[in-house]
């Protein structure tokens, strides 16, 4: 029983004591179910006649199940609700255990763990990356991703940011073991927020508006020379890649972040290059060598600035860089030597 309790305290919400006080005062039923996770609240404004016995039983069951979930930690969510919502537990007790389609938490579990709300961060990740996951049954029901994001306001911020492609990998195991994903995710999030996953249809803005604003921002940037709000998509080409990509420079705040994102984006090309493009002399590249590609000697990252010159990325402060960068190019080091005329010729050829 202790790990969850510790979990509560670690989250920084010292709520374990308060809800029970509230419960005692509101509990007209005179029965107090003590629960470490704060699920003890049987106070109910609109007691819909749930017999206490059943409630107690289910509550215990809830507790058992909670323990069953490795490392699930969201007690502060429960305590929040107890604090505010006296009828809450009533709902929980009414809510029968339902087998979940994908075999993870039952709805009851859901309510016990996270208040029945699908973890937004997961929803975001899954829906964005795989359309199939929109299919209701497939979406991993609210796992512990959510409570952690609730517990800590600042973490919630971070957890909003997700690494798009990596998410797919992470979300799938989520169906079997939420917490592992949870922890990995959190650590991932705190390290380097990269590409944003987006929930379909959220925030609720007409697509016409989104499109227009994007165009407006871009135009205004060009007009004023001042970066305004909005996105700043620039094309990224890579020598030998069959097609270009686009990145939103506003998503990053340092060169490091941009570099990592580009690495991930173009990894498929570098790995495939040995076969696909028949470039002579290329070894089979492993993942570990990938980082070296951009950081090391194989490739350099260059950009074309407002004046049409090709520059090496990294010389100017980031803010200045995004103001002047018009497109990016990942060049082979060999070609980048003597960046000015030779590089320009090469880029013109490729265009």
């Amino acid at each position: 029983m202790s790990p969850p309790l510790l979990g509560v305290e670690e989250e920084g919400q010292s709520r374990v004591s308060s809800p029970s006080v509230e419960c005692i005062s509101h509990n007209g039923l005179g029965i107090r179910e003590r629960n470490y996770l704060g699920l003890s609240d049987f106070c109910s404004v609109d007691s819909s006649g749930v017999p206490d016995d059943n409630g107690n039983n289910l509550n215990l069951k809830a507790t058992e199940l909670r323990l069953g979930l490795p490392g699930s930690q969201s007690p502060e969510r429960e305590t929040e609700h107890c604090f505010l919502n006296s009828g809450k537990l009533d709902e929980k007790t009414l809510f029968p255990l339902l087998p979940s389609k994908d075999g993870i938490c039952s709805s009851f579990q859901k309510s016990a763990v996270t208040g029945n709300k699908r973890g937004f961060s997961e929803v975001k990740g899954t829906i964005y990356t795989e359309k199939k996951w929109m299919g209701h049954g497939a979406v991993p029901d609210s796992q512990s991703l959510q409570p952690v994001s609730h517990g800590k306001y600042s973490v919630a911020q971070a957890s909003v940011k997700k690494d798009g492609p990596a998410n797919v990998v992470q979300e799938q195991p989520c169906t079997s073991n939420g917490t592992k994903v949870n922890r990995t995710d959190i650590s991932n999030n705190s390290s380097a927020p990269t590409a944003k996953a987006q929930v379909v249809g959220w925030p609720p803005i007409r697509s016409f508006r989104t499109k227009t604003l994007t165009t407006s921002s871009k135009n205004n940037d060009e007009v004023d020379g001042k970066p305004g709000p909005g996105t700043l998509f620039v094309k990224v080409s890579m020598d030998g890649a069959p097609y270009l990509r686009k990145v939103d420079l506003r998503m990053y705040s340092t060169y490091q972040e941009l570099s990592s994102a580009l690495e991930k984006m173009f990894s498929c090309f570098t790995l495939g290059q040995c076969g696909a493009h028949g470039t002579p002399g290329k070894e089979i590249l492993s993942e570990s060598k990938l980082k070296d590609l951009l950081h090391g000697s194989e490739y350099v990252l260059t950009y074309e600035d407002k004046d049409g010159d090709w520059m090496l990325v990294g010389d100017v402060p980031w803010e200045m860089f995004i103001e002047t960068c018009r497109r990016l190019k990942i060049m082979k080091s060999a070609d980048a030597i003597g960046l000015a005329p030779k590089a320009m010729d090469k880029s013109k050829k490729d265009c």
Binding site: L84, S107, K117, K196, P204, S207, N220
Partner: protein, 572 residues
């Protein structure tokens, strides 16, 4: 019941203009029904699939103005697949075949083809007014047909439509004889327009009161247009980019000063913020200002502009105004009734520049506020409670916290109490959109207090079926309920299926309702169409009743299953 001859009653009914009232009048008795239906000129149909055009025509032979809405509201946010429905062609076709003298057509969220526009333009001699909001499916060729054939056209109002722009000749299709234009709004078109044709058109339209230009209209053309139409009441500026030291700018200043009637200003799709001083002379009279498409305007320039707008009643703005800017609004715009704050950077959840502070400031300064759409970074219960106290007159309250399950950042509580305060205080609340971390409790409050509520939008909220049940039981006037990503399942859905007949529609996506539950509703309520929208073809292969339904849209109808549903829509 009939103490007066029909003509007298008809004359009396002429004064009854609201759709609701006319509907009530028609229910009094048979003779009132008859008199009402023959005298009815304006009809509003909130769901184009609730009735057929033939029945409409049969009942209201005197129809002159028709308003139709097609797709469900969540279609605005890409939740409804592309060709779900909402085609206007069958309506225009049926009306064309009949003897209805249609004069006005207003469409929202419908699919409008060029063929429909062409048919429309050719079928109704006295056609006067076309208003398209959030529609799609047509090109500027369709507009050309309207321009060319509708000889008495007064109003062509295109708001936020997805138009395939074939570049500009449609304006030239207005014949020289066309002098009846009162309102022309083509701000949503993305392509070039024939500027000369535009100038000539405006010159020969002495009744022109409303003109909204698109991005492609440059400043010097704007200046010429304003010189020709100083009587404008509503102006939408396309491009506002120029050199403040140029002759063109000076000319513009003079032109603007002549336009003493302008009460409504919008656009600024491209803007050079250092030139806003030319606008100041007309700011004092503005009642509506829409800068929600002008991300280039922010900071001090924006605040200075707002400070000139003392009579503003409606303000649509981007969140780059910031809390500070909203403070300026609160001090300046004492007549403000409607505020909409849109996000300039919607997918970057950490970046919205307005928080609960801005809203509190506005609520304190603008006590007449009754309509709100607010996209923000965060919200607190305390703020909402304060807003509720300051502004008890809200009719529409739509709050969107960009991170949809964000709790109160100060207390880490759900926002139940805050929204509860809003519904309790604002007794006239008709429309509510919720966001942030919410439990069943907020729905209890809504059910208890929101007696006038007609439309409710819920996302990522609640803990159990109880949430939905509170709402369905409590909100007697509920007409539209749209829910996404909430844990509401079959027991909530099936609790009171009769309720849905009193409503226009119910949307539930990514909830817990199952196929079996939906089938049950359909069985029990033959006057409802229960549509299952499933693009992933899960439904085809897995007909298990326990299967959860991705998207369900149900609505009352008098005409049964529609025939134009695409493959992935299954009507139970």
């Amino acid at each position: 019941m009939n103490y007066f001859p029909d003509e007298v009653l008809e004359h009396v009914f002429d004064f009854i203009t609201s759709h609701k009232d006319r509907n009530s009048v028609s229910l009094v008795c048979k003779s009132w029904y008859k008199i009402e239906r023959y005298s009815r000129q304006r009809v509003f149909i909130g769901n184009c699939y609730s009735i057929s055009p033939e029945r409409l025509i049969a009942r209201f032979p005197g129809l002159k103005s028709l308003t139709l809405k097609g797709k469900p509201h969540f279609a605005d946010f890409n939740l409804v697949p592309h060709d779900w429905g909402g085609f206007v062609y069958p309506w225009i076709e049926a009306l064309a075949k009949s003897r209805i003298g249609l004069e006005e057509l207003r469409l929202k969220r419908m699919v409008v083809s060029d063929e429909s526009l062409e048919l429309l333009s050719k079928s109704f001699v006295n056609f006067k007014s076309l208003v398209l909001v959030s529609c799609e499916g047509f090109t500027t060729d369709g507009l050309a047909a309207i321009a060319a054939n509708c000889r008495f056209l007064r109003e062509l109002d295109l708001q936020e439509n997805e138009v395939d722009d074939h570049r500009g000749h449609w304006l030239s299709c207005f014949p020289e004889s066309c002098t009846s234009l009162i309102s022309l709004n083509f701000a949503c078109l993305r392509g070039e327009v024939n500027l000369g044709a535009l100038e000539r058109l405006v010159s020969r339209s002495p009744n022109l009161k409303s003109l909204r230009l698109n991005r492609a209209v440059p400043l010097d053309t704007l200046q010429k247009l304003l010189m020709r139409a100083p009587q404008l009441v509503d102006l939408g500026i396309g491009s506002y980019v120029h050199d403040p030291f140029s002759e063109a700018y000076n000319k513009l200043k003079i032109a603007i000063q002549r336009c003493k009637s302008i009460r409504s200003l919008s656009g600024f799709l491209e803007v050079a913020p250092h030139c806003m001083s030319a606008i100041y002379p007309i700011c004092g009279n503005l009642t509506f200002l829409n800068l929600s498409y002008a991300p280039g305007l922010h900071g001090n320039k924006l605040m200075k502009l707002i400070q000139h707008c003392r009579k503003l009643q409606r303000l649509w703005i981007l969140d780059c105004i910031g809390d500070k800017g909203l403070g300026v609004v609160a001090l300046t715009c004492k007549e403000l009734q409607e505020l909409r704050v849109f996000p300039s950077d919607p997918f970057e959840a950490g970046n919205a520049a307005v928080t609960e502070e801005g809203l509190v400031l506005v609520s304190a300064g603008c006590t007449k506020l009754n309509s709100l759409l607010y996209f923000c970074q965060q919200m607190t219960n305390a703020a909402l409670i304060t807003v509720a106290k300051n502004c008890p007159n809200f009719i529409r309250f739509r709050l969107c916290i960009l991170d949809p399950i964000k709790p109160d950042p100060v207390t880490n509580q759900p926002l139940d109490e805050g929204f509860g305060a809003i519904v309790q205080s604002c007794k006239g609340l008709k429309r509510l959109s919720l966001s942030g971390l919410l439990t069943d409790q907020v729905f209890l409050y809504i059910g208890m207090y929101a007696e006038q509520l007609e439309m409710l939008s819920i996302a990522f909220a609640a803990d159990s079926d109880k949430g939905m049940l509170y709402v369905l039981n409590g909100c007697k006037k509920l007409r539209k309920l749209e829910i996404r990503d909430c844990p509401f399942g079959d027991s909530a859905l099936l609790e009171d299926v009769g309720k849905y007949e009193t409503m226009r529609s119910l949307w539930m996506s990514s909830c817990e309702v199952t196929l079996g539950g939906c089938k049950s509703v359909a069985e029990k309520m033959p006057t409802l169409n229960v549509e299952i929208i499933d693009e992933s073809e899960q439904m085809e292969f897995n007909l298990d009743d326990k299967q959860k339904v991705d998207k369900m849209y149900l609505y009352r109808t008098l005409v049964g299953h529609r025939k134009d549903a695409p493959e992935y829509v299954w009507i139970l």
